[in-house]
């Protein structure tokens, strides 16, 4: 009752003020009404009096009252609840678009934008070597080169080097192969890594003659040593050699080394052997450095150019082809491959967001149009234009806030899904999470959407003239807002075509890639890595080990073939080696053959089902005592003996004391690293015929061809190896199908996401087209009724309506094609087997879009002609 009375008084006061009374007069006259002679009158008249005085004070009334905003909000919520379909459509559209955008932005933020988790990360650089004469760029450097970099530069505060390594941990329960890093003592301090217990590697650890030491990751410490703090100082067997554990790293300290933190860190021993002239060309180490404060990358590059020049001068015999370096920001280097794909996704999802916004703008416009009668009347009754505008703005802000909130919830879930789905090899993925920056981004985005698209219909509505609106009745002629809407739909179609074509290109590429034959048969092939430690296994003993493993596995039921290779396709392993052709021992260095050389066991080619083109494959009779033999692939044969018979040709790996390997077979080419990489020349040598005296045991990948589901052989494989040597771990147990699938992982991920976005874009565009056609039909119900009543054929009316909608679709398609032709150029590196402007893809996608557009037109059009003319005419 008090609120009512207060309002009554407010109304009275306003009326008196409007009639020209002063504030004092109006207040006095109004409050006189409170002088009750009714015993049931308000007991708290004083309170009402005081509150009124406050409410009517000029200060309270001049400002943009808080009460007004609250009222607007309440009104907006009620108005939205009254039209649940509109609200649901807008909120769902916004939520999907904002959710997808926020999720992708989270990934981009974590992987690309956020600094690396190291102190002064922007000063960290990586230094690569280049050998220009043989077109090798961004290569790792040798120990000697690292030491020269360290000693000759004046631009780095600190410099360190590392290489990936793996160690067999034995004598601690089940033997395990641990991933590790060998690093200079300077590396961990350079990265700011800190020990949870004990210490990190330090400079003295590199000195020759020191006891072997190792630092464990936090995860391995927990998993293998139960988090025992007494582990520091303990001796463990790594690769069969006793090693002292000197510390455990804090969890997550060194996360830039791929998605899995290394398990073990061991020092690189910098001894005379490593620094010898012989080993200057043995490049294995990645060099990281921290720039001195104030030094730019360009300055560091300049300084390192001088260092490289000095190396070329001082070691002429090593660098006759020249030697240069590349200094690059560490973060940029880590994310370079990944960022392009992520930016593509970000671009696509931004387009989806733009489409969604256009859609919402369209919905808001229709709504404003439908309400223009109400709004015009209110305007005529004296509501200020700004007042009405504010109301509509509040309404659209409320919708976008709800949409943004829902989108954020969706993003939270989507980020988890993304991380779970993401392929291996995306750096920093474990850092991905919704963070404050993403929340701010999303909030800004949804508010902006609300403001931009709340303003448009508000402006339109407030411009409406009452007489026009009322005259229109329910039969309306499309006005300016309708033109805006048509433009919006055209842009929606255009933008969605761009996303669809991008997705189409990726899908087309992916299909082509999947149909690429790898050159061997990956079906029912189980693979694993066996790395006998050189401390325990001499070369001869390793031969026995492999032979034993092969024979025991081969005797298992369902095993069809067993063989081994050092660099298995799709394992990430493999490497090149220099060799010499018979008769060309004195070839100049730039013409020395340097190709992929692989060591394989007898029967490898038949086990892998690699095509044997000529000659024979290796057998058990190719041993150290028999004549040395080699097998080449077609690419190598073509490169070195283009017009000759490769069989019988001989190669050697040592120019001084040549041991000749005779080519006895030619096999088909295979894809080694990825399905989209070119096939490389390959030279195969039997494992049993080592290249030099004192050859070490080599880690090999064993391939097991089964007649059943290959993963079910994994247990048997472990048992067999353990029964031969319980201290011998195996690792990387995977089917070949998995390995190939993984090599496609990132592409599959990008393709899948882009396809999802494309589907979303298509749906939104179809809704947009449907919306405008349905709206047009509703507006023209009367006209359609008359046409039908006058005898127009329904299909002509249908054609008229569809043609009207399709005009927009075609306009959008034309624009979209032009846009896509320009935009997809940046996808050149993402496509495979087609160009980024592949005509077939463009055509198929455009036709598909036109068909969907046509369906979107047909639905409302069919409804229109199904109407009874009498009913439609009565809608007035």
């Amino acid at each position: 009752m008090n609120e009512e009375m207060q309002q009554h008084l407010d109304d009275r006061y306003d009326e008196l003020r409007a009639a020209g009374a002063s504030h004092e007069e109006a207040m006095h006259a109004t409050l006189a009404e409170l002088d009750a002679d009714d015993p049931a009158g308000p007991r708290d008249a004083t309170e009402v009096r005081e509150r009124s005085a406050r409410r009517w004070s000029p200060a309270a009334r001049s400002a943009f009252g808080v009460g007004d905003v609250a009222g607007d909000l309440r009104y907006a919520v009620r108005a939205l609840r009254k039209s649940p379909l509109f609200t649901t459509a807008v909120v769902a559209t916004l939520a999907l678009a904002i959710g997808a955008t926020a999720a992708i932005f989270s990934v981009v933020n974590a992987v690309v934008l956020r600094p690396l988790p190291y102190p002064d990360a922007d000063r960290l650089v990586v230094v690569w070597g280049n050998l220009p004469s043989i077109h090798l760029q961004d290569i790792v450097v040798s120990g000697a080169e690292y030491v020269d970099f360290r000693d000759r530069n004046r631009v780095f505060d600190a410099i360190g080097a590392y290489d990936a390594a793996a160690f067999n941990l034995t004598g601690q329960g089940e033997a395990e192969r641990l991933n590790g890093i060998v690093a200079t003592g300077s590396l961990l301090p350079l990265l700011g890594a800190q020990a949870a217990i004990g210490r990190v590697l330090q400079d003295g650890d590199n000195q020759p003659g020191r006891a072997r030491v190792a630092v464990l990751s936090h995860a391995v410490w927990q998993r293998r040593f139960g988090g025992d703090p007494g582990v520091v100082g303990r001796l463990v067997a790594l690769d069969g050699q006793l090693t002292e554990i000197v510390g455990v790293l804090r969890p997550g300290t060194v996360s830039a080394f791929g998605e899995n933190e290394p398990d073990v860190w061991m020092p690189i021993v910098i001894d005379a052997e490593l620094l010898s002239d012989n080993n200057r060309g043995s490049r294995a180490y990645t060099v990281l450095a921290r720039l001195k404060r104030g030094v730019t990358i360009a300055q560091a590059q300049e300084a390192m150019n001088h260092v490289a020049d000095s190396l070329v001068r001082d070691y002429t015999s090593h660098y006759h082809g020249g030697f240069t370096t590349t200094v690059r920001n560490l973060k940029g280097d880590i994310i370079s491959d990944t960022s392009r794909g992520l930016y593509l996704l970000l671009a696509a999802v931004s387009l989806v967001l733009a489409i969604a916004c256009a859609n919402i703008a369209g919905l808001l416009l229709v709504r404003a149009h439908a309400r223009r009668r109400e709004l015009a009347i209110r305007a005529a009754l004296g509501a200020r234009r700004s007042r009405i505008g504010r109301q509509l703005l509040t309404e659209s802000l409320v919708v976008s806030a709800i949409g943004g909130g829902a989108g954020l919830a969706l993003a939270f879930w989507a980020v988890k899904a993304l991380v779970a789905l993401a392929p291996s090899g995306i750096p920093r993925l474990h850092e991905v999470a919704l963070d404050a920056r993403v929340v701010a981004f999303t909030a800004a985005l949804s508010m902006l959407t609300g403001i931009v698209f709340g303003v448009a219909p508000a402006l339109q509505a407030s411009r409406a003239d009452l007489t026009d609106v009322l005259k229109e009745g329910s039969r309306t002629i499309a006005g300016g807002g309708h033109r805006v809407r048509r433009a919006l739909v055209v842009s929606e179609v255009a933008l969605s075509l761009v996303v669809l074509i991008a997705a189409g290109l990726l899908i087309n590429s992916f299909a082509r890639l999947q149909s690429v034959a790898p050159g061997f048969d990956p079906d029912r092939l189980l693979t694993f890595r066996l790395a006998p430690s050189t401390a325990k296994y001499s070369f001869a003993k390793s031969e026995q080990l492999y032979a034993e493993v092969f024979s025991r596995l081969a005797s298992k039921p369902g095993v069809e073939a067993v063989a081994a290779i050092d660099g298995l396709p799709f394992s990430g392993y493999g490497g090149d080696r220099t060799f010499f052709l018979e008769g060309k021992l004195d070839a100049p260095p730039s013409e020395k053959p340097d190709e992929q050389v692989r060591f394989v066991s007898a029967g490898y080619f038949s086990a892998m089902r690699i095509a044997l083109r000529r000659g024979r494959e290796f057998t058990g009779r190719d041993t150290r005592r028999s004549p040395r033999v080699a097998v080449v692939n077609e690419a190598l044969a073509l490169k070195y003996w283009p017009r000759e018979d490769p069989l019988g040709k001989r190669v050697t790996f040592d120019r001084q004391e040549p041991i000749w390997y005779e080519v006895v077979g030619v096999v088909g080419n295979i894809r080694h690293r990825t399905l989209d990489a070119a096939e490389k020349p390959e030279l195969y040598v039997p494992y049993a015929q080592p290249l030099f005296e004192g050859w070490n045991a080599r880690p090999m990948f064993v391939v097991v061809r089964t007649s059943f589901q290959p993963t079910s052989a994994a247990g048997a494989v472990r048992d067999v190896v353990a029964s031969i040597d319980p201290d011998q771990p195996i690792s990387s147990v995977r089917t070949m199908e998995d390995r190939i699938g993984e090599s496609l992982g990132r592409r599959r991920f990008n393709t899948l996401l882009l396809s999802l976005f494309a589907a979303l874009a298509l749906t939104l565009a179809a809704i947009g087209v449907y919306g405008i056609v349905a709206f047009g039909v509703a507006e023209r119900t009367h006209e359609i009724g008359i046409r039908l009543a006058l005898g127009a054929r329904p299909r002509h009316v249908l054609a008229m309506i569809v043609a009207d909608g399709m005009a927009l679709v075609f306009a959008g398609t034309a624009l979209g094609l032009a846009g896509a032709a320009a935009a997809t150029r940046v996808m050149e590196s993402q496509v495979f087997g087609i160009s980024a402007t592949d005509a077939a893809t463009f055509a198929v996608v455009s036709i598909a879009l036109a068909l969907v557009g046509c369906c979107a037109c047909l639905v409302p059009a069919r409804r229109a002609i199904a109407l009874d003319p009498v009913t439609t005419l009565r809608t007035e």
């Binding site: 002088d35 009158g41 009222g71």
Partner: protein
């Protein structure tokens, strides 16, 4: 004028006020300020409700179930409580109206005779 108005005000409290409110609500729901304005204008300024009397009266009528109030919000306006006549209210209105007609008829008959 002043004494007349004061007299009628007292008269209203005796029961005719209820009749006025109910009749004004017969056609459409109205809010309190609207009611007070209508009473004032239609009576040519003769009848006037004060805030302190009107709302307690509305409250009583609603309490009896003759009228029903509902908060209504319209864009750009304060929310207001609109009252509408209930079925019970309509019955009361009919009976009061006929009582009033009889009463006025009776008075008229007497006063006409006297003045004639």
């Amino acid at each position: 004028m002043q004494h007349k108005s004061a007299m009628l005000d007292r008269e209203l409290k005796k029961g005719s006020a209820e009749l006025l409110i109910l009749s004004l609500l017969e056609d459409e729901p109205r809010h309190g300020y609207d009611l007070s304005k209508l009473i004032e204008t239609r009576s040519g300024g003769l009848l006037k409700f004060r805030v302190a009397s009107l709302y307690p009266l509305l409250y009583r009528l609603e309490h009896r179930g003759w009228i029903q109030g509902r908060w209504v919000e319209k864009a750009g306006q304060r929310r207001r409580r609109y009252y509408k006549l209930t079925a019970a209210g309509a019955a009361v209105l009919a009976s009061q109206r006929s009582t009033w007609r009889d009463f006025v008829e009776a008075i008229n008959r007497i006063t006409r005779v006297e003045h004639a």
